[in-house]
């Protein structure tokens, strides 16, 4: 039997595969920081967003890329992927899609910018964390973590992807955050 060469990898495929690899690791091990192939939301948009998505972006600079992917631009309350850029007010968490007990998968995936490794000390526990682990996050408004805990009732909720340049940490809804 002839052994054909495997299909070539396009640049987009290489980048999307590496981005998701980092995201999946970060999401299954909350608090651990991974690296994206390039800084910013662009790599995640390429890996996750297409015409099946409804996207809200607080940063207008991301919208051209989102439009090119074919996704629908939606308001925050009906978006399944929310790009918050820098968060000013923790009230925004109250308007996110949480899904329902019947369909927990309808909860939003939220991508925001912050500074990792400085600022408030968080103690994380839950699936993916062996006991507890600590993460330092700066650049989020006061009461952010309290609001997150208030609005989510497991298994409903949203996933937080924290971006700092090309560094990424992720907190799924199952993670319990204690502010130290």
């Amino acid at each position: 039997m002839s052994q054909s060469a495997p299909p070539l990898r396009s640049a987009e495929e290489i980048e999307a595969n590496a981005s998701f690899d980092a995201l999946l690791w970060a999401l299954s091990r909350p608090g651990q920081i991974r690296h994206l192939p390039k800084p910013g939301e662009a790599a995640l948009i390429d890996a996750l967003i297409d015409r099946e998505c409804r996207v809200y972006s607080a940063d207008p600079l991301l919208i051209p890329q989102v439009m090119r992917s074919g996704a629908e631009i939606a308001d925050m309350a009906s978006a399944d992927h929310v790009f918050l850029a820098t968060v000013q007010d923790s009230e925004v968490l109250k308007s996110l899609q949480l899904g329902s007990d019947l369909y927990p998968d309808e909860g939003a995936t939220v991508i925001l910018r912050c500074k990792l490794g400085a600022g408030a000390h968080l103690r994380l526990s839950g699936p993916g964390v062996n006991g507890t682990c600590d993460l330092q996050v700066a650049g989020l408004p006061d009461g952010f973590w309290q609001t997150r805990a208030q609005v989510m009732r497991y298994p409903t909720g949203f996933e937080l992807i924290l971006l700092d340049g090309d560094r990424l940490a992720a907190l799924p809804r199952s993670t319990i955050v204690e502010v130290l």
Binding site: P6, F20, D21, L102, P104
Partner: protein, 304 residues
Amino acid sequence: MSLSELTKPWEAMSYGFLDASAKRELRRKMIKAVAVPGCQMPYASREVPMARGWGTGGLQVSLTLVNPETTVKVIDQGADDSVNAASIRRFIARVAGAPVTMDTLQADLIQSRHRIPEEILSEDQILVLQVPNPEPLRPVQPNMSIARQMHADADYGRMWLQLYEQIVRSGRVMQGASYPSLVHGRHIMTPSPIPRWDVPKLHMAKHLTILSAGREKRIYAVPPYTRVEPLVFSDVPYRVEDHGGLTCHRSGTKGFFMNEIPQDGGTSTYEVSDSEWGVKAIRQRDGEGVIKGETWYKNGEMAQ
């Protein structure tokens, strides 16, 4: 925005067989599956050149995750060399150019039908389990809309009733494979038809497990360090198969999950189910240098 910006150059086949939009959908669903451990998430389940029910769910996850640096191992009921495992392994290698291995320790991605290897999986390994029937409630509630509502309400009383009836009827729990297990204290999942022997390996494991049912179009996951507790009554403890005292007739290895091989005259011999573990034991016996990993079970007992 111009038309040339929106089109991509022609490709005979996408890398990893699945096209980019299929992969993106799987990625989005995997995120949700990891975020709500044990909760079944619906997904599209694309066509792959393999009949539904032969590992297409696991295959789609593997094809999404794989890259040319991912070393792939595929097992079928513990064996690397069965037809199903060999075809899936060859397919992944051909469409993704990924290196393949049979050694559990060298694999980055392990796609498995109905077994978890005997050697402890490490943090950077991903286990993909093929699932024929992802719905643990199906024996007690065939209507999937009502079953979904029961999951939403954590209404799992009938699962215990089912076990109770087995104990009343047969004196013990008869559920052999796909033993219903409570994940993260919230969702009951079926861990795919792995034997009872393998279920404790998922509890607080170091690796990520993704379970995918291609025919049923559902995906769910057990992240690392997540509680996976088989359903039991407080006075009827969970029991794994009595294989701790059995010896493999080919490799001489003892205290692992065995395949029973019926013999003429009504007797049986046993052969270790994790074929690569048996191969390692034989190579070691023959004086070859092999690296054996730590095993979950030691002397037939699950290490605490």
